[in-house]
């Protein structure tokens, strides 16, 4: 049987870093994997805008409660607000879309 939880923990162990998570349950430090890929935004006129798509992967076991939109997280001294929350199919991780504050 595949140990999805163990695999997710290993990924966070290897690629993760400490982030500060703030929700209605308080403020706490958890390990998470942060990615911020470049992407483009195109309006109806004029040149495109280059932007970033920051995402945070956190283990469900690291959370005190389910994350919700509006929670805040500090990564590498930058403050973000949680804009979207997804759960992976194995129910081991949350994938959070972030907006810069």
């Amino acid at each position: 049987m595949v140990d999805f939880a163990g695999a997710a923990e290993a990924v966070v162990d290897i690629f993760g870093e400490d982030v500060v998570y703030e929700s209605s349950d308080g403020r706490f430090t958890i390990p998470a994997v942060f990615r911020s890929e470049a992407h483009r935004v195109q309006g109806s006129r004029g040149p495109a805008i280059t932007s970033k798509r920051p995402e945070l992967t956190i283990l469900q076991s690291a959370m005190r409660a389910e994350p919700v939109e509006g929670d805040r997280v500090t990564v590498r001294s930058a403050l973000y607000t949680v804009a979207s929350v997804r759960q992976d199919a194995e129910a081991t991780r949350y994938l959070l879309g972030l907006k810069r504050v």
């Binding site: 992407h39 006129r45 004029g46 040149p47 805008i49 280059t50 970033k52 920051p54 879309g97 907006k99």
Partner: protein
């Protein structure tokens, strides 16, 4: 040789908009970086022309789009764009491009770019003017 009338119009608008403290591009096709915002691009997107005299004077109607892009939040973006629209409309009414005989605002559209997956919200405003000018036959650089 002087510049084509379309370039003259773009350059004159850029000068006016830079006078408002706006970072303005008159020939921009490359993507804008976040550090370049807020920014304005001046585009001459379409032109229709017709001969108006026996000696071939061309009446040119040039669509000029002034595109303002801001980074902000969903609460204040519309207000910021409207504030810029007020300044731009007033400045261009007071000082229309010298290369035009008639320079009128035809439409304004506001667009909130819902960059759902990205880290920011962007507001984009397009102000479309119609510039009417006249040039002699075979000479698109001289204003009649």
């Amino acid at each position: 040789m002087s510049d084509h009338v379309r370039k003259q119009i773009r350059d004159q608008l850029r000068t006016t908009l830079e006078g408002l403290g706006l970072r303005t591009f008159a020939n921009r096709v490359a993507a804008l970086g976040e550090l370049e915002l807020p920014a304005v691009t001046v585009l001459t997107e379409q032109e229709t022309s017709e001969r108006t005299s026996i000696d071939g004077v061309l009446k040119r109607e040039i669509e000029v789009a002034i595109v303002v892009v801001f980074e902000g939040d969903t609460v204040s973006l519309d207000d910021e764009l409207d504030g810029q629209a007020s300044r731009i409309e007033a400045a261009l009414a007071a000082s229309p491009p010298a290369a035009t005989r008639l320079f009128v605002l035809e439409s304004t559209s506001l667009e909130l770019l819902s960059d759902e997956e990205g880290e920011s919200w962007y507001g984009l405003m397009s102000m479309v003017y119609r510039a009417t000018t006249f040039t002699p036959k075979g000479d698109p650089t001289t204003i009649k």
